[in-house]
Symmetry: C3
Subunit: 443 residues, 3 copies
């Protein structure tokens, strides 16, 4: 073992915060809208292929794997222990630290899907195949969450939070965590639910509220997780059992309603093919009639939900037509890069008019519609889609309340129209004020 | 083994969605209000005794149990494996598939509580005994959720969701799931919490927030669940340990506050007897003074909560008296079958005036009262009743906020009374409009 | 074994609720504000050192430990079984029942931190050491939740709920539950999360939403919990691993942002020292750059959140300046013991003006600010601080909605100012009415 400066190790342990080695202050974003945002230090972890900059480390030298292990067994024993339990340590052709991180401690690298794919090409190909199904998908998760038009309009704190999960596209240890990278871990629902939780994708609640999830909670600890995700290996399905059948790392080919964010025709030829794939999956345990009954219940639930949403959209468009929505398009900044919208501002209501995140800089009634659509509506969908009807019910109750509240707020807006009383000047929230500036400055 | 058409099995796997064999399109509801609603396909699973219609299956023939197993070990291996682990497969008098489903594949049946009761008469008698305690109870759960006056007024999506759990009255595998039917499974809290979750019955949060539930989460995996629910067998109670003491399938005889949906006098002779039963249950681990302290804390909490609720009810009745609640009784449809209400419409506020679900077609302030009463209030109750005081606190904070919001909304309604400004026409939501029509058409 | 009256034991089991032996009806609170509140029966369990009054028990006699065990193995077998599994039963110098409860069944005592400290002086000293770091801390949790100025203004139901958890200061079995008192139990996250859950401290959601927590959920059942909380013993951290490193029972010396309830300068000399302690803890598994990246993300998130909060505070102060906040200071009761405030009433907005719980008797817009600050803001903080960025995101979305709602409500207040329409008389909620009286009477 060769360590250039042993005292540096001691210093590393005692003063580890002194030697900041992250992204430079003036780092730039990448992609089409690169000028609109700036990466923060965590970006080099969330998207190492794009943002990691190897830097002078405190420890100098070139190390083969055994030397790495010897030192790190003391410095960071947990990850060494995990690696020893991993298949990487137990195959004939042992995979040591430098295979992923390089040998030069001054030029350490972080693995990317591409570098993992050097040894696991089939898995990488499956992930890449998702792209032909469009978004939402794992493969496109990162580029949609960073270099996307509407993300430039979101408060920085929310964008930063999005990245941790959306990094599923740019590194592989979201599901198989460091340094054991265990398929058995990734088969368990928690591997998915770290990210698939919270609005607008409360899949954790949906799964655990279902009879499937409850059986998992009761017995899952004792299941044989080393078994592959094939028919007969598991008595109760998990996320991966259904969505990554037979271990397929492409999760997009059965999505009929996708994330539930827009109404679809569930009976198109393409969706019939997807539904057939579902039916075959359910048939591992259930007669086809049961699956059909659930599909129909889901279609009905979705249709009903969208009738409610359309009603509220009409209400808002009516208010807009009468000039009652504030801030109006003129008061609100367009996307920073949207010169057409700057010249010809127009109101955009709802997902269909193309400005999902205009909801971050709007009046209360429009934001309430956003919450209704994006949180309650999607919760209702997720519940019904996973056989958690109580959960769906719960979110429908919330939708009912929210529809009533928006309706009443609309009535108040109309009733107070022709008053001549001075309005409070709310500009600070909008076109030029500090809220807008704060978000923009930090993007 | 005799399979009529082997190619049908293949076809079944490849095209399972083609052969829909559920309820006929024109199926009728049952019971007093049968004309007001129509069962959907899932009804034959939720209430097989009433709605299951044996139909021509793709596989023809009459099969003894061994033949069923041979084929289904390939077609649906999970349920066969579960059955083999069940006591049904391990008793001297083995219980094979036809015992529950019949032998003729063209006339398959689903078991009901009554058919399960043929072999388990004591358990069935215990469930039936609940009926003398009235609602809420497992035994009456289904008929109150389907053929009930106020359910005809609820949006279809919510009624559909209610049924999955309320089917506890009409089939036995809600708690002992197919096809292992394991008492050990039903003893675990998740068996109950699949249904007992979400508003208005967040028993999952209540239990897991309590010290009891946290001990279960820490250690429950290793407990001896094959042991019966008797004193000394468990160090920490679960739902069933307290509510189904000694395995008694009658869960209604200790309910003092019932679901918390109305104020009761906790000191009636009947409630003193129920409280005594609780005290005896708590005494398996705690001195009686501890139980008494908790009872008193619960009574106090309930009394305080009802004072808040009564205050808001008075506020709403005041608004009604002054004609400020919209939609008024005249604008809102009565229950479809309520001819008296159609002739003499009257406002009904709160549970006490008898129209729990009028809250689905009311103004925002009345709906807010419903949320306050049915969701926040019951959450506060459930928390306190299960020793989860932090949870109770949390819901009381919500109640505080909601009382303030309703009070302020009432003030606004009064302030804007005598304005002559045109109101927005909100009829579409109410008496004749599409919201009403949509719900009614789908019931 | 000597039991004075065996029939009393039988009677105890049959009529346990008859012999109430709690605090006397006229028991007094303690401390500076003792006259403002009255303990309820549960106080003798939550704070036995102060409120437990040994009383005549139904069983008379003086018992050595073996006699206690013999009888209680029948009466309350669970706790005897737990004790037998405890280290108390397995050390050379066995710790029998009387060591904690005394020998005289007429004068039973409950252990306090001080009495536990007789055998565990190092642990007691660690807890006591917290006091030098101020509040929040375990050591000061109880006195701040009972004998505190602003608690006298809270509804009784909420104060009662606070005590169960705040009793962590006044008894030791909050984390090591009776009667096994197992360090292994206290190392598991649920030991902490029984209390650290719900607003304003949703640490349960924060931990379980993080990658750390999800690994625990997947594998924790099989970890070697008998191992101490030292580097290398656990692959994944739990609450106690980081916050009680090496088993230190002092949990306050790393708190930079404390509970997140006010903005701090994270770069003071003191906070740099605390941050160094964190960095060293993270370094058990992560390179220091990763920890630094997370610290920076947290500082940024906090700064952004406080900008939003300050904006709303300014809005409210503007309304107050123009006399638009109701109830005004004159309409609202001061703290009952605050004679200065009674003579010179003044509005207090937000934490900084010193009346945290004035939010229990205020107008809706002030309460909404409280919810924004104390619930959503702290949820956003807890998420970011625990690496649960999705959770932080979720709460930031809630903050956005709430800021908009408050802003709109402020606009409405201004618009309706100069109307001459009669306001609804809302006095009952405030200075003299029943809501105020109810809360005060029950404190």
């Amino acid at each position: 073992m060769r360590i250039a400066h042993l005292n540096l190790v001691v210093w590393l342990l005692l003063w580890p915060w002194c030697a900041w080695s992250g992204l430079p202050e003036n780092a730039q974003g990448t992609g089409e809208h690169a000028e609109q945002w700036q990466p923060d230090p965590m970006h080099e972890y969330w998207d190492p292929g794009t943002y990691h900059r190897p830097e002078a480390e405190r420890v100098e030298g070139v190390f083969k794997g055994e030397a790495c292990l010897e030192c790190h067994a003391v410095v960071t024993p947990g990850i060494v222990k995990e690696w020893k339990e991993s298949r990487h340590a137990q195959t004939e052709k042992i995979v040591l630290c430098p295979a992923c991180h390089g040998e030069d401690h001054q030029k350490l690298t972080f693995p990317t899907p591409k570098s993992c794919g050097d040894c696991h090409p089939e898995r990488l190909a499956q992930v890449e195949e998702e792209k032909k199904y469009g978004f939402p998908s794992h493969a496109l998760a990162m580029e949609r969450a960073v270099d996307s038009k509407h993300f430039a309009d979101k408060p920085k704190a929310e964008v930063a939070a999005c990245l941790q999960c959306h990094s599923v596209a740019t590194k592989c240890d979201s599901c198989h965590t460091r340094h054991r990278f265990d398929p058995a871990e990734a088969r368990r629902p928690e591997a998915c639910l770290t990210c698939h939780s919270g609005p607008p994708h409360p899949d954790d609640v949906a799964y655990f509220s279902s009879a499937h999830g409850q059986r998992y909670l009761k017995e899952g600890t004792n299941w044989a997780w080393n078994k592959s995700l094939r028919k007969g290996n598991y008595e109760i399905p998990t996320c991966a059992y259904c969505h990554m059948k037979d271990g397929n790392h492409q999760v997009a080919d059965k999505a009929v309603w996708k994330f539930g964010i827009r109404e679809v025709n569930p009976k198109t030829a393409e969706n019939e093919i997807k539904r057939k794939r579902w039916s075959e999956t359910c048939a591992d345990c259930h007669p086809p009639e049961t699956a059909e009954g659930f599909f129909k219940a889901l279609d009905d639930e979705r249709h009903g939900a969208w009738q409610q949403l359309y009603g509220v959209e009409r209400l808002l468009k009516g208010l807009r037509g009468d000039g009652l929505l504030r801030p109006s398009a003129q008061e609100r900044p367009p996307y920073p890069m949207d010169w057409m919208a700057r010249l010809l501002p127009r109101e955009r209501i709802g997902f269909y008019e193309g400005q999902a995140s205009a909801f971050y800089n709007v009046g209360a009634i429009e934001r309430n519609y956003f919450d209704l659509w994006y949180f309650s509506n999607l919760g209702a969908y997720k519940g019904m889609a996973h056989g958690a009807q109580e959960m769906s019910n719960r979110y429908h109750k919330r939708m009912d309340s929210e529809v009533l509240a928006i309706t009443r707020a609309a009535e108040q807006l109309r009733n107070s129209t022709d008053t001549s009383k001075g309005r409070i000047d709310l500009k600070p929230l909008w076109l030029e004020g500090e809220y807008t500036r704060f978000n923009r400055d930090h993007n």
